[in-house]
Symmetry: C2
Amino acid sequence: MKKLETQLQHRLQAAPLKHVKIQDAFWSARQRNVIETVVPYQWDALNDAIPGAEPSHTIENFRLAAGEAQGEYYGMVFQDSDLGKWLETVGFVLSIKKDPTLEKIADDVIDLLGRAQQPDGYLNTYYTVKDPGNRWTNLRDNHELYCAGHLMEAAVSYYEATGKRKILDIMSRYADYIASVFGTQSGQKRGYDGHPEIELALVKLAQATASSKYLELSKYFVDERGQQPHFFDMEAKERESGSSTSSLSKKKRLYDYFQAHLPVREQKTAEGHSVRAVYLYSAMADLASDYNDAELMNACKELWKDTVSRKMYVTGGIGSSAYEERFTVAYDLPNDRAYTETCAAIGLMFWAYRMLQIEKDSQYADVMELALYNGVLSGISLDGKSYFYVNPLEVWPDTADFRNDMSTVKVTRQPWFGCACCPPNIARLIASLGQYIYSSNETERELYVHLYIGSELNVDISGKAIRLTQQTNYPWDGQVNMELALDQAAEFTLALRIPGWCRKAVISVNGQELVAPDIANGYALLRRVWQHGDQIQLTLETPVEVVRAHPLVRANAGKIALQRGPIVYCLEEADNGANLQDIALPDDAQFDVQYDEGLLGGVSVITTLATRSVLQADDTSIYRTQAIDRALVPITAIPYFAWSNRTRGEMTVWIRSN
Amino acid sequence: MKKLETQLQHRLQAAPLKHVKIQDAFWSARQRNVIETVVPYQWDALNDAIPGAEPSHTIENFRLAAGEAQGEYYGMVFQDSDLGKWLETVGFVLSIKKDPTLEKIADDVIDLLGRAQQPDGYLNTYYTVKDPGNRWTNLRDNHELYCAGHLMEAAVSYYEATGKRKILDIMSRYADYIASVFGTQSGQKRGYDGHPEIELALVKLAQATASSKYLELSKYFVDERGQQPHFFDMEAKERESGSSTSSLSKKKRLYDYFQAHLPVREQKTAEGHSVRAVYLYSAMADLASDYNDAELMNACKELWKDTVSRKMYVTGGIGSSAYEERFTVAYDLPNDRAYTETCAAIGLMFWAYRMLQIEKDSQYADVMELALYNGVLSGISLDGKSYFYVNPLEVWPDTADFRNDMSTVKVTRQPWFGCACCPPNIARLIASLGQYIYSSNETERELYVHLYIGSELNVDISGKAIRLTQQTNYPWDGQVNMELALDQAAEFTLALRIPGWCRKAVISVNGQELVAPDIANGYALLRRVWQHGDQIQLTLETPVEVVRAHPLVRANAGKIALQRGPIVYCLEEADNGANLQDIALPDDAQFDVQYDEGLLGGVSVITTLATRSVLQADDTSIYRTQAIDRALVPITAIPYFAWSNRTRGEMTVWIRSN
């Protein structure tokens, strides 16, 4: 294993959730929503206690596995993961705020988990209840290790919140058992899961238990992926009792759906199912860091470049094909058939967050923030009760409802899904948002601020306790005020991210503007001996920016998008009437921005003048040589994340440019 | 039945194929190609004599039905129609030119048809061979009457070419049998076919046999369609032995796929499978004419308006959804996922041709011509050996090959199809092209010229034999020279179509320019006593026209198309390099037109200057606020019909407008 460059040895540590308290005009209400509404609702869903909703059967499956109920397994093969995501969210919630009632519910369900665990440590309700004897026979399709991964993440989250080891022990036993089944030793299976997830979960488990063997197991899964002879062929052959595997090898794009078309170190382009991809890449980044593995880090960087510079929507959404929920070819980013699964944008944040700790480069924080405020947040309604699984950048309701090739596009958010992956994923993201804001580095005495969110951080640097309080109306306003509370003066670097979207940032310390602050990789580095009560003011200019896509992005040729700060805007029919495609923005458009407290939970709205066709009522010919007159009319843009919270209607992010 | 307005009583009669001889620089080679290449190739296909091709089994199915071979039925449920289309084409070919060898083959296969006919007149190989006893149990899906219709069309074509009655008698017997099974009498089925076709075929059979009962049967099928209680429900109930039909009634768009959602007279919008639609509308126009049925004609006109002003591509293609090969909603005309089946453009010609005879309005001829030179002709390669079933207006090969929602788009023409409907349909259209050029009206002494194609017409008007000879390099040139050969002077109106695309037309008779010719409904009406040897010159200005779509056509917002004469142009990668979406045409673009004899079988090429991005090699960011410089570069457009005859590559009809 080659050594990474020096910066890898000086990686950042994200501030743990318990050390960050969010108090923010934009985010606090959203966290409260998760805590007060989403978590109880999801618990009811897991227990089939929501009238009219498709049954989940998740808890019942665990009761069946524990021998405490009679009946049949019901649900997806990966139903266990729903409990994992919920329990992980509960851990985050308890890190934010004690809640004995919730903790009791969680402790009880953890006890149930323990009783459902098999004597050898195995813990999966599908195989225990429905198909005993066939464990590990279809890693490619059946999400066995994926479910284990989500329960491991839950274990770590719950342990970190409560200090209770029970679930950590349960999942460690399961991990020990998995480590005995899989590996390169004789008698072990050379397998890995079709859906990456356990890889990043094992890294967390290794950290929580201070046990390097889980890191080794994660590394084994990552490096085994895509090796020849191909495990998915071998296991298929075994399943089919020695029949030929020729049908598999004939597949057009062999195993790229699973990111198993090549050993991961040889992968240069983001391929296949986009959620699986970013979960895998997240684990790769973790391992590159923990093992100082330059080769693996280079693979991550190649994949990152391909993802964010060729396959990412302007909203931070990824995965442009509904079929296989996957990446397609470079620059193929149709807006009206964008898949851009909410979970994929969340996964992109996971990956960006990990890259950021290794490289201290704001490009990762920029993408993390972009996805957060746009492609992730669009997945949940303002009231937290309905969700988008698919997040298109253009919606034409009548067409989307009619056309079969747009059948995955829902015109309005849906209350819940049979395959309920996105709602719990948003919930755990919002609940754990605190850990994305700050990082620090003990040895280099650095404190990084990645996101501007009103919050209080408690961190030790060189043994000195530091409290940083951040106040802001971000994202509606680029003014950020920070104050330090120190027991004693401390020398360290306060690194403030200058967002990629910001052309002008002014920094003052104690009212004194810094003339030429040291800026490296997108962070202003303020190194000094800080005193108790020091005030830092950051002023980010947030004019409306006209964004253009690379000319190879076919769908956006001749179009622009509006962005202000991290917020990507869209036009909605509710404000602009129908036929949004007809609106064209002049080159010299002037923008007005107004914060509207009463609109969509409080948003800044952009207004400007644009041109629209002036069509005579009797002008019905579909083709003509005469150009149609156009008139200047006012248009209104709202934040993309807030669309579809009023009436059903058209929406577009990209607007024609004159 | 209400009386139609007066013009219906003075409808035109299309000149029969035998009276028109095409001698044309553009079309003669294409007709020769059909006669010399396509017809023999298709005969081999019907006989499974093409190495490597999917078997057709069509002839073998007839042998099985005749009891002259052993084996199983093979092929689509509508396999018989392939023989119908081929035999109809053979009739057209024999009308153009005697060919004893071909006629012998046809006579033999007609004898086989006779032997395959059942004692009661029934003639369908699928039910005879594969499912005897279940005739007429699934009209909705199984194309039984559809196959009958194609064989009836063949019968009329072959009879008109050869005067031989045998196939006409066979199909009359079959029609008599069908008339006994279907109708409103007690004991008769109130059914009709899921795929309209027999309706228009019965009109032809009625004309050829001078038997009004086939007209009555056609009228029955047309008027029964969509009535309640719904026949498709009733027959489904019968098939499912009395089970509930609730699954059917729950369908979102009930029976519009079959144009059976409403009685046809109540239909106002073009719905469902586009080929089925235009076949039905063609029969409706026939019946409106033959019965002087104003109500039916009004339905036709409503449907026409909806089709050509809301659901037609600029190429004359129709049907914008691959799923169900159907119309969708108004103005939903995506270019890259256009279905625009070749057969649908052909069917649109059928319908336009019928409307034209009733209304003498050039709008119908305009659409007929538009479809012919663009959406139809694009379906066949220049060498006549490969075909497009689907005719998109934009092709991005890598994306189309990768994306599942573009899976019906073929990037290059294909040699043959398992479901081989389009190739024989193009063949019969090109072979019968002569009948689309001229119409006449005995009582009003009118001779209409709809299409400008080098040809010789022999027609009687008021008992006087008239020969009109047309010479032209159309569509490359708008100069048309006509000469009359008369036995004696004759007074009649020579009506010359002034195409909708033409802004300036000059007409001279014997070198004398007509200053203000009488123009009505798009035709210049030249009424005079014509003399032998009279020369008529028509000069149509054919500048390059910049065409815009109605602002509600979302896919074409901010774009233009180039058209010259009836020819719609496109950009191909072969001439312009890749990334055609980046090309933008300035408002003041000047066009140069050159005829290139050596290119694509001889085409006029348009060149102009357009702008393209000047991208620095290191400019890889996918989104940016800086506009990219653009430079003027030459671009070349070729006729749309001729695309994909060189190398695989991108193509687009619609070009960004600056």
